[in-house]
């Protein structure tokens, strides 16, 4: 196993009467951005805390580059993490926050200035961090994660509080990290934040993994073999398409969703019937649709299992 992995294997964790994790299992691999998605309370932060050795699992194990985090001598050289951007002393400057962290890992101050430049925080670095906006704190936390240039980077909800410019910057930044063969694990409760950025998604709910698959596969399966047809003559179009045996549903005003018909055949059917249309294309699901498909199945499965 390379250094650039996080392996989570069968984690269980209870806090009093509440069960946070029920067999959480997944792997974040090098060269990929792995999205860690699920509703609030699904166990994402608990899993990350266990990976970092902050909380102990009741069962199962979490390894960073094949080793438990707590056994690492200079852990930030193996894994850079951002859990809570507000976890800093408000009276200490952002720069000094990074200086003590760098010293704890035996790193020089030159790294501090490098990462401050990387996240674009030089101008505010000497101000007290208590005065930073949430977006600036996220940048400082990301700078801290990058301090020792680790092979694995793990960020918990890093998009929270970022302005649109910051979100674009962070997406590109994480893609670039994966491009340099880093393993990147990013949690989010919003699938849209991961669209166009994650290679792999681990979808979690109620303390376990619901789905763990490549984003491309997930979108393909959610897209199905559906077509979108935009036309002002919806009833004529529906009649013509249904006659070929395809399933047709009206999804919006002037918009039909057609299942079970290739694009070219649909074009010729509509042309033969003399139905005008302004758009006809394969439907491409968004990551969010795919996510809802998945979580709906999980809910159905659960209710089916309990009855």
């Amino acid at each position: 196993m390379t250094d650039a992995t996080i392996e989570v294997d069968g984690l269980h964790k209870r806090y009093g009467a509440a069960t946070a994790l029920r067999g959480m299992t997944f792997t974040a691999r090098p060269g990929r951005v792995t999205g860690f998605v699920g509703p609030n309370g699904a166990g994402k932060s608990t899993t990350m805390r266990i990976i970092l050795g902050l909380h102990r699992a009741d069962a199962g194990r979490a390894l960073v580059g094949g080793r438990p985090y707590r056994s690492l001598r200079h852990p930030l050289r193996h894994l850079g993490a951002l859990l809570d951007a507000s976890a800093l002393h408000p009276a200490r400057s952002g720069r000094n926050h990074l200086v003590w962290l760098a010293q704890s890992q035996g790193l020089g101050r030159s790294r501090v200035d490098e990462v401050l430049a990387q996240v674009g925080l030089e101008s505010a670095a000497r101000r007290a961090a208590g005065g930073y906006s949430l977006g600036m704190r996220q940048r400082l936390g990301i700078a801290a994660a990058l301090l020792a240039d680790p092979p694995v980077v793990m960020l918990d909800e890093p998009f929270n509080g970022m302005d649109p410019e910051g979100i674009v910057w962070l997406r590109d930044f994480l893609r670039a990290l994966a491009g340099r063969q880093r393993a990147v694990l990013v949690s989010s409760h919003l699938m849209t934040e991961l669209q166009g950025m994650a290679d792999q998604v681990v979808v979690v709910g109620r303390g376990r993994v619901i789905a763990d698959c490549a984003v491309a596969d997930l979108i393909a399966s959610a897209s199905g073999d559906r077509l979108r047809v935009r036309t002002s003559a919806t009833s004529l179009a529906a009649a013509a398409l249904t006659s070929t045996g395809a399933q047709v549903t009206e999804t919006d005003q002037d918009l039909l969703s057609v299942r079970g018909l290739p694009v070219e055949r649909a074009v010729s059917v509509l042309a033969a019937a003399g139905v005008p249309f302004s758009e006809l294309a394969p439907h491409r699901a968004t990551l969010e649709e795919a996510y809802f498909d998945l979580t709906r199945d999980a809910v159905d499965y659960r209710s089916g299992a309990s009855s």
Partner: protein
Amino acid sequence: MNVIRAEWTKLRTTPGPAWLLLATAAVSVATGVALSAVDTRLALSGVYVGQIPLAVLSVVIISSEYSTGLIRTTLTAVPSRWPVLVAKALVLTAAVAVTGSLAVLATLLITGSGQAFLSQASARAVFHLILIALLSLGTASLTRDSAVAIGTVLALLYLPPLLTQLITNPVLRRLLDQFAPMTAHPAILALWSATALSAGTLMVRRRDT
């Protein structure tokens, strides 16, 4: 060594600790000078009041990490955890040794007995401040909460001398005097500090944070 440097940087990069050390020195000197007007032998007793801002400082350097969440960053950087407390204790000891020595020297110079600086009494006053600092640090790492820790330390320091006034049984009274942190022999106080610090370290290691 890395962890000690990191903790030293933490101590000097927020304004609180420097002010509280200054307060410790100022209160110790002022009280000592005032007491020496009554009896010159009391000049070094100023530390028994100067220890209050010091206790606050020693509690806050760990409890503020819990209140801000910084402790998670700290323990992520040093996941074996115990070196953090050892480093905090060392850094605090060094800062208090310097501050305490300067305060004792200033008190003696002002009261006109500067030649007494290199004496057992001076060393004992500085040593007392160091032990109080470590007792407070240990207590705070156990309780994690500033208010609870400061309350506990102040109660440990100032309640027994009040209680001894109420106790009539001479044996009990002597026992209390011998074991209460304020009145005990420095070796007993050192035992208090060591116990608090070890218990605190053990709890910091065991707890989910």
